[in-house]
């Protein structure tokens, strides 16, 4: 009986020693992994910092301005480019496109209800605040081939 107990105790001792040994080395391994990850993280951070600095260096305003002057025909947004949504001419009525398509195919439009113009996407936008970017002016120029003068952006909407 005593001997059995001794054996059990010795076995327990050996088992616990093995467990302690293994957990110690596991801890060491994990700590090493943590250190490695920390180093990688630091390196990544440094790389990100360098990239961010480089991005800022490449997109700094004076460089962009020089590039725009050289390669593009854009100009800074001035009061000339400002316009109200109400100043834009209404979209031309394009009629019932589907019916025309059907006719072109040699079919007849039968049950199509009377073509109702849906309001264009531009007019559905709230119109209380005029946009300050140049996009409205670009649209105005595309509607009219003549160059836009400051007065012309403010013409009343005769077509609506």
């Amino acid at each position: 009986m005593i001997r059995l107990l001794h054996l059990a105790a010795i076995a327990g001792l050996i088992a616990s020693a093995i467990y302690a040994y293994s957990i110690k080395y596991d801890t060491l391994y994990q700590a090493e992994q943590v250190a490695k990850l920390k180093t990688r993280l630091r390196k990544e951070r440094e790389a990100v910092a360098v990239l961010r600095a480089e991005w800022q260096l490449l997109t700094r305003p004076d460089r962009l301005q020089a590039a725009v002057d050289k390669y593009l025909t854009l100009e800074p947004v001035g009061t000339v480019h400002l316009g109200r949504l109400a100043d834009l001419p209404a979209r031309p009525d394009r009629g019932d496109e589907i019916a025309r398509k059907l006719e072109a195919l040699g079919l007849t439009a039968t049950a199509t209800p009377a073509a109702r113009d849906k309001p264009g996407p531009t007019t559905s936008r709230p119109a209380e605040e005029p946009r300050t970017t140049g996009s409205t002016a670009a649209r105005a120029t595309s509607a009219r081939p003549t160059p836009v003068r400051p007065a012309s952006t403010r013409t009343p909407t005769a077509t609506r």
Binding site: A49, V50, A53, L57, R60, L82, T132
Partner: protein
């Protein structure tokens, strides 16, 4: 070790065996001697224990003393920096500086520096030869001197490229090594240089916001080693808008060249929060290469220079007159004759009207006599008190460490009050004057300009009310009128309801005002019914461009033009909404009072 020990020893000691002669006897003596050595005799042990105590005590006392010495006397800086270098963190880590939209204005990147330990270099000549072959920009003689010194640590070259590092590494010189280093970079170059300042090679802030960051405790944190990586530090967000900053600098550069001025500076101030949106001063410098940053020619003229602001100061005079209650917007001033005699002094009109004019006309015609009469009506004490209240007689302190004291006349008599009323005789920093004008425009709240981002509520909390809202409205009306029919027409960009004031001061050279050396200022705010931004331009000695102005070099023809260009360019960037319809009833009180041309402020 018991008291029984001696007895045991005596018992155990074998008696010398007879017959064996000298050898065993000797052995026995030796044995007893050895035993006696380890025997603890009671009578002697006290002394031995005492001796041992003394020895150990001395050892521990030495250790403790050394510890105390090390703790109380820090090392001299040279060895401290060497040790810090050995520890790996050679330079301070600084927080990133961002603009109000989160764009990077300054950041740290990792570089490598080469160091040498002269003690460990055996062949110094060879080392010098090899190093200069790889790094040709190093002066060979300097390097030899450095390596011959008795120091334990010297820098060979700071901030080298990875390629250079690989080459030096391949040389394999013993005693030469690399250390990671932090380099401060300003990716936007000259943009906002005067605001940012710069940091030196050891990443210590030398000027501008960089110095401010150090003063707020970064240095202490770094020296105590609390900061190990940049992520430990929250970035500092400035009120500067990089895009507006660039636009202002660009337009100023145009103005500087076009009008052949010596210097120019521009400012955009958010009058509702006191934030500086853009500040540029030309000539400026590149903080990445700050060799000439501290030369007196490149000071921040908005903050460090003090100037006589000329007629823009009339805004102060009118605000003072209106706020005192002694004058109203309908008060009239006699400017007939065009000369005001005061003792031996004669005050002339520049744009003479030669009639009796109302208060708004004093502003739009920039009447020296009118404003002088106003100031005289208030009196010297009242004038002084008002200017002090507006913060114009004390040094303005912002986050920027650089500042300048206003130059106040030592004896302030009535003639000083007369000249100061139209902006001569009192030199202030333009930033200071801008803050005062912002207070006039924003409803009467004086805010110290700040370079850090903040909200309106926080600004209002710290603001000091200095003027009544009625005065502010009257002044806004007068400034707007000046843009419609007065001297500020050049900056009256349509849709933004701009109002402003020109100021032309003759420069004092060797104690005299010189007619053709001008210092011009222009201040404009927009939109005048509910001001948001104040635009300021100053130019030092601009020349007339004959084709445009026919010989005039006054403020409207240069600073005014530049300000107009800045407003037109910056307003869309800052999101200032254009008003296609003039504001409805912008100045109701003025209409009610029937002020001069109260209904003619639209002018588009």
């Amino acid at each position: 070790m018991s008291q029984a020990a001696p007895d045991d020893a005596r018992d155990d000691a074998p008696a010398p065996v007879p017959g064996q002669a000298a050898r065993p006897a000797l052995l026995a003596t030796l044995r007893t001697g050895a035993r006696a050595m380890f025997r603890l005799s009671v009578e002697r042990s006290a002394a031995r224990v005492g001796l041992v105590t003394l020895v150990f005590g001395a050892v521990f006392a030495t250790l403790m003393g050394r510890l105390v010495v090390m703790a109380s006397f820090p090392d001299d800086p040279v060895t401290a920096s060497a040790r810090r270098a050995e520890a790996g963190g050679t330079t301070q880590i600084r927080p990133d500086i961002l603009d109000r939209n989160g764009e990077i204005l300054a950041t740290d990147i990792r570089t490598v520096s080469i160091f040498a330990e002269p003690k460990n270099i055996y062949d110094k000549d060879e080392a010098v030869e090899l190093l200069t072959a790889v790094l040709p920009e190093i002066n060979a003689r300097d390097l030899r001197e450095k390596l011959s010194s008795k120091k334990g640590f010297v820098w060979v070259k700071r901030e080298i490229t990875p390629k250079q590092q690989a080459e030096v590494h391949r040389l394999g010189i013993p005693g030469v090594g690399f250390l990671p280093d932090h380099k401060r970079v300003y990716p936007n170059g000259t943009a906002a240089a005067h605001v940012l300042g710069f940091a030196n090679l050891d990443n210590v802030g030398i000027a501008g916001i960089e110095k401010y960051i150090d003063k707020t405790g970064l240095k202490d944190l770094n020296s105590l080693g609390f900061i190990e990586k940049a992520a430990d530090l929250a970035p500092v967000q400035l009120s500067i808008d990089l895009r507006a900053q660039h636009a202002v600098r660009d337009e100023l550069a145009w103005g500087l060249e076009h009008y052949r001025a010596k210097a120019a500076a521009g400012l955009i101030l958010d009058v509702t929060t006191g934030e500086v949106i853009a500040l540029a001063s030309l000539p400026d410098f590149d903080p990445n290469d700050p060799a000439d940053a501290l030369s007196p020619d490149r000071i921040n003229r908005m903050n460090v220079g003090v100037y006589e602001m000329g007629s823009t100061f009339k805004a102060m005079t009118l605000a003072m007159a209106l706020d005192s209650g002694k004058y109203s917007v309908n008060s009239t001033f006699d400017t007939r004759g065009g000369v005001l005699n005061w003792g031996r002094q004669k005050i002339h009109e520049y744009h003479g009207t030669n009639r009796v004019i109302t208060m708004p006309e004093v502003f739009t015609h920039s009447s020296n006599i009118g404003s002088a009469k106003m100031a005289l009506g208030i009196g010297v004490t009242g004038h002084k008190a008002f200017l002090r209240k507006m913060g114009l007689l004390d040094r303005l302190r912002t986050e920027l460490p650089e500042s300048a004291e206003p130059i106040i006349p030592p004896r302030w008599t009535e003639i000083n009050t007369i000249t100061i009323a139209f902006g001569h005789g009192l030199a202030v920093a333009p930033l200071q004057a801008s803050a005062a004008v912002a207070a006039i425009a924003n409803g009467g709240f004086l805010m110290t300009p700040t370079f850090l981002k903040r909200g309106e509520a926080e600004a209002r909390e710290k603001a000091v009310p200095v003027l009544s809202p009625q005065t502010s409205e009257a002044m806004r009306f007068i400034m707007r009128l000046n843009a419609v029919e007065g001297s500020a027409k050049k900056a009256a960009i349509p849709y933004y309801f701009v109002g402003g004031k020109t100021g032309t001061a003759e420069k004092v050279i060797r104690g005299r005002y010189v007619k053709n050396r001008l210092f011009t200022t222009f201040m404009a705010a927009a939109p005048m019914d509910k001001p948001k931004y104040l635009f300021v331009t100053i130019m030092d000695e601009p020349q007339a461009v004959a084709a445009e102005s026919g010989g005039y070099a006054t403020a409207a023809w240069n600073s005014g033009v530049v300000t107009g260009r800045v407003i037109a360019r910056v307003a869309p960037i800052l999101g200032l909404p254009p008003q296609f319809d003039p504001p409805v009833r912008p100045f109701p009180l003025m209409v009610k009072l029937g002020a001069y041309h109260a209904n003619q402020v639209d002018g588009r």
